[in-house]
Symmetry: C2
Subunit: 313 residues, 2 copies
């Protein structure tokens, strides 16, 4: 069974980390959101790709979710002293990742190739594929601050501004890179990770051709909400601001007819019937993944569910 | 007495450091070579300006000449592991300087303004002024490797390739920034520091209008050679390759009628007469500056010499 996952940051990386424990690099890859990417004081930074690489390499900071474990902060201390903004946490070893990405990209490598090299240096064998090689920027249109980039919204302002609208600047010109495209086309099953639908999955779905390929696939999404709340990040807050009650049911409805199956937490079991009535097959289980054991456990359930859905097809 | 110094890296910074001990920020500034500047993996790096800032702030590494004392190397260790080239030594706190410069410059500040901010953060009160705000790149045309940038020649290849020609890419479009220009015009005395004439001082002299302003000034140069050898760097090797015997006399001749006075070391006292015969007034003294005491001592001799030359004018 060939499988492709679509993912954003921390939640997506957790499930992907479970899946790589069960699937070979030939059978599994993950396509990652690049709408959060930005150039920061010359450094080409891809927050979601970095979280994915670090998590799959087992070198991520398990407390914060982002960044590296046992990180040092010598550059950041000096940046603070020099008056450089410090809202974006630049760890010393993390900076090395950004510098190497910047170097490779400016010498002509595509983001796909750069990501492959960085993954390989960290010992990651499974393919981490950016959703596109061209620049796409998730813009949050806020009531208080006007239009700001996702990193400003998420990190600098800790997702406190009120969101009016979200759009993906440059996505009209973005294409799915060849490798991501062929892996997605040849997939039997697509897994939408428990990432934020609005700012992590929507950018991927907005890349030209992606929805068309997905329309022919068996797709399972895992809810990013438990009891109407997010584990991390602004999904629930965004839903409120965009006029929807934050719930697993409304996440399933948001993805709509893209989905064959939807996995939600026991906490939300009462929503399963309503999800069924939308023509989406629900699976109720534990979706919280605090450690690698629970990541593998959920991954295994997702795969079993996928196999059943494919059999019934 | 208003004084402007022209300088490159380590040798120039040493004399400038002596001069700031004797002169107020109103009376003294230094115009620094920017031909060595380069973009390295996204970082905007100005080696000579950094050496000048760090030296005048008293935070330079006195052993290597470049970089900061008590520096740490966490980013570089990781860069090495990731396959990023490590021929250019990026210290952690040094990286903070480059990041802040890159940020300020990309947000619209001129290099002059950026340098002022960085100097001020490090507690430097005297003006360090880049020779120009636009990009100029010193190119070394070598026998073995063709055309390479100065940092590649100097750091990566440790000035071992044979030089055929040196030129300053972009210098035709370069102008002296307004502040450097007005400081230079109002100077009573100009000091050419013991920097490499070919790769540190020539770029400054090549900026449009500089030679014209200098033609009306009393100028003293300090020899960068002792006994036909350099303290540091490729000046003597370059002279051999460009077809001149490396000597203080030939340095004086190279600057030619730009100079009023020339300071050379006791070791080279026999060259003083020949320098006189070129119409340049020689001063023989100790020009080695291993510590701040000798830097102030030489600076004081330069100033006294300058006063005499101005009196005799």
């Amino acid at each position: 069974m060939k499988i492709t996952a679509l993912a954003g940051g921390v939640g997506g990386a957790k499930l992907a980390n479970g899946l790589i424990g069960l699937l070979s690099p030939e059978d599994f890859c993950v396509i990652v959101n690049t709408g959060d990417d930005f150039i920061y004081s010359g450094l080409y930074i891809c927050p979601d790709i970095d979280t994915m690489i670090y998590t799959l390499a087992g070198i991520n900071n398990p407390v914060d979710g982002w960044g590296l474990k046992n990180e040092t902060w010598n550059v950041l201390y000096e940046l603070e002293r020099l008056g450089h903004p410090t809202w974006f946490n630049l760890g010393d070893r993390d900076i090395a990742t950004h510098l190497e990405r910047t170097r490779l990209h400016s010498s002509g490598y595509t983001l796909t190739d750069v990501t492959k090299k960085l993954s390989s240096y960290q010992g990651v064998k499974h393919n981490i594929l950016p959703m596109t090689d061209s620049p796409v920027q998730t813009i949050i249109s806020t009531e208080e601050l006007g239009e700001i980039s996702f990193q400003e919204y998420f990190v600098k302002y800790r997702f406190q501004p009120t969101t009016k609208k979200i759009y993906f600047k440059g996505v009209e010109a973005a294409v799915l890179p060849e490798e991501a495209r062929s892996r997605l086309i040849s997939s039997d099953l697509v897994i939408i990770c428990p990432s934020n639908p609005f700012v992590s999955i929507d950018p991927i779905l907005s890349v030209s051709g992606v929805r068309e390929i997905l329309s022919k696939k068996t797709i399972i999404a895992v809810s990013p909400l438990i009891g109407g709340k997010t584990i991390k990040g602004p999904a629930a807050k965004l839903m409120n601001e965009l006029g929807t009650v934050p719930s697993s049911l409304n996440i399933a409805k948001y993805y709509g007819n893209l989905l064959t199956g939807f996995i939600l937490d026991h906490t939300d079991h009462e929503e399963a019937d309503a999800i069924s009535q939308c023509g989406i097959i629900p699976l109720v289980t534990d979706i919280l993944m605090p450690d690698s054991e629970t990541q593998i456990k959920l991954a295994s359930k997702v795969l079993k569910f996928g196999q059943e859905l494919l059999k019934d097809k």
